[in-house]
Symmetry: C2
Subunit: 430 residues, 2 copies
């Protein structure tokens, strides 16, 4: 196995025990990037010599923390002091922040090597599309807006990558690219130094190739109040299946795979029941959109005033409020969503995980879209932790995801359940 | 009248009509700073030559917008690309951001001249105190955490200044320094590039010496969906007096002045009724504290890991959660506060303004504290717009404030009411 094919947890162990150097690992990731990223286009910026130099510094010092020597890629709307942060916007062409974002500073303090910046939708919101393609089929989108982060991890260019989620920008690209992704409880991780879109919703997220690696990053980034323990079996686990009010938007092939995944978990001994959301959840996706678009007005107004000629028309529409969102409508949307958060917590509380689709189906065979956030919007609005796991392939041979959701602050127990569910889903189909 | 004594609105008019240059105005503000700031210590950084150069550039070009040529001071936890941003923290000593915060970019796009950076509590949150003293009595605090912004405006060093509010950090210092201050509805103005403390609460605020100037900045910063109209009389206005569950913490002298202010408004023709908050509001200040401290854990964790030796112990206590705030307690606090927001909107909706104290009294004669946010916490938690106006002087000769509060998104109508109320309060006492 090449070093770049190791999970982050395995690589960290190899480095800690002296069997692998960070330089060798980073070097192998850079080799993979050189080999495949011309086609995949996950990275917006890589400085190989700088990454190798950082790896050599890690190799020359005592371990700083659990990520010592492990490379991480950063979505290019998150500030990095030693690499440009360009937001896929000409306004930020060549921009070099003076400081790291809080999450990047945390990763470096714990020994991580920042490998490069990954492509994104313009400001992770709208406008210019990422150039990234799906490593499983270059004619397909990798999802968005954390497109490059998902594709880079899926194509073994890096074991870990940071993204963000305001609608479905972490869970969807991870699912489309056949990897694991996590969006933690809102505000558990500082968003400082990432480009804001909607402060009620913006959440840092991350991708990896295993649940163990998601958990490694979760603890590194300060999620929860302790450790987490990987469950070893789904036998006896209480799982709920939530088909959501959006079920009709799930592609038939994805629906049948979803049911198969649920059946496999039941066959492995999980107790599975249906969880129907009360009627008041029916319009939650729509309320999410009111909040996201309504708050986007303030988030992009400075760029609209300072650089109107360099900002995509879609941002002008947000700032000029082309959707006509009234303040009272925004207040109402926030209030309704807030009132549903404790309701969902109570509904989800009895379960080890709530199972729901990660995306409407496989990645669209279309590079002019990054797909739809249909199956993520409500969970983002509810502030709850979400994990997507690879769950087989659809009729076009592309990955499908299964999403696990829990009540707010259940991030670590959800990771524990995800570890056992991952074992079932990655095993041979029954 | 010296140029530095003009309100921002008057100065902008003088500049627009060619009777005053930005250079002369900025020069006079710099003269005032040179004269008084050795004692007041409002500014953390001023670069006179750079400010004058910016003013000359404004004088040499067509008007960019409503703030053309007008100097504004910026709280030193808000990023400025051409001046250090030091957060009153040794971690950020000499730090020069590569980009302006969104609010600063907006002000520059509209023609403002950034005059300098004003002193603050460490990261506008805790730890190191600002060096700023109250211009009305140098032995007294100027309030906090936007200490320097309030003192600079009060001492005629600058007509406008930006601050922030997570507890009471804009309203209290403005009241202590005898000027006008405004905290708009949460998320109406982008907080990007200001140091985050509690994302549910953090709000940009500003200070000025008149309601007209507060309104000038409000429109410049994109508050509301149109313009605002200064009301000319309080006659016929519907005002509510809210003594809040914290009334016992108001100093007796401040309480009697509050009643006098209310009586003056009634005598001028306003209809005044009492607004008693329902019992569920009794613990709102405590819930606010749970959210603020609970969310502070994530906001300072990166600095705690990367620079433990340079971070004040009070931040370590937040990150290590010395208060023992449990996740479910944080969720409950957020949920209760969220449930009270629409309740307060309905209660306040029928009134032109809700009148309430701005602070527990005059500025403490004590430079080891910046006073208490007692009379601001609940309004910040409720996300509602707040304006403080000078309302006479207390028994130690120091300023007192009267706070006006409205339902969410009523910022512009609250400004309109504030203009008429200001006229009554600034007139001769009856």
């Amino acid at each position: 196995m090449r070093p770049s094919e190791l999970t982050a947890a395995a690589a960290a162990t190899e480095i800690r025990e002296g069997r692998l150097s960070s330089e060798a690992l980073v070097g192998d990731c850079l080799d993979t990037i050189a080999r495949v990223d011309g086609a995949v286009r996950a990275f917006a910026w890589v400085d190989p010599e700088q990454a190798l130099e950082a790896a050599r510094r890690r190799d020359a010092e005592p371990a700083r923390g659990p990520l010592h020597g492990v490379p991480v890629a950063i979505k290019d709307m998150i500030d990095t002091a030693d690499l440009p942060t360009q937001h896929n916007s000409p306004i930020y062409a060549g921009h070099r922040p003076a400081r790291d974002a809080a999450c990047v500073r945390t990763l470096r303090a714990l020994g991580a090597v920042i490998l490069g910046k990954t492509d994104t939708h313009e400001f992770a919101a709208a406008g210019r599309l990422p150039a990234t393609r799906n490593p499983h089929d270059l004619a397909c989108t990798a999802g968005g807006s954390s497109s490059g982060s998902a594709a880079a991890v899926a194509a073994y260019m890096v074991p870990l990558a940071l993204g963000t989620q305001t609608g479905g920008s972490t869970i969807r690209p991870a699912a489309f690219c056949g990897i694991a992704g996590m969006k933690p409880t809102w505000a558990e991780v500082s968003f400082e130094g990432a480009k804001g879109f909607s402060p009620s919703l913006d959440t840092l997220g991350w991708m990896a190739r295993s649940v163990a690696d998601l958990g490694l990053l979760a603890l590194a980034l300060g999620v929860g109040r302790g450790s987490w323990v990987a469950r070893t079996t789904v036998a006896g686990m209480n799982l709920a299946v939530c088909r959501t009010p959006m079920w009709a938007e799930l592609e038939p092939d994805a629906a049948s795979h979803f049911d198969q995944s649920v059946a496999r978990l039941a066959a492995a001994g999980a107790r599975v029941v249906d969880l129907e959301l009360p009627g008041e959840f029916a319009d939650l996706n729509a309320w999410h959109d009111v909040v996201m678009q309504g708050e986007g007005r303030a988030s992009f107004r400075d760029l609209y005033l300072a650089h109107p000629e360099l900002l995509h028309e879609e941002f002008k529409a947000k700032v000029e409020n082309h959707l006509g969102i009234e303040p009272l409508q925004l207040a109402r949307a926030r209030d309704i969503i807030a009132s549903l958060r404790p309701v969902f917590d109570r509904l989800a509380g009895p379960f080890d995980a709530v199972l729901t689709p990660s995306a409407p189906g496989q990645a669209p065979r279309d590079l002019t879209t990054t797909g739809m956030a249909t199956f993520s919007r409500s969970w983002t609005a509810l502030h709850v932790p979400c994990i997507t796991l690879p769950a087989g392939r659809g009729d076009r041979g592309l990955p499908l995801g299964l999403q696990l959701v829990g009540p707010r602050f259940a991030d670590l127990s959800l990771l524990g359940a995800a570890a056992a569910i991952e074992t079932v889903l990655s095993g041979p189909a029954g």
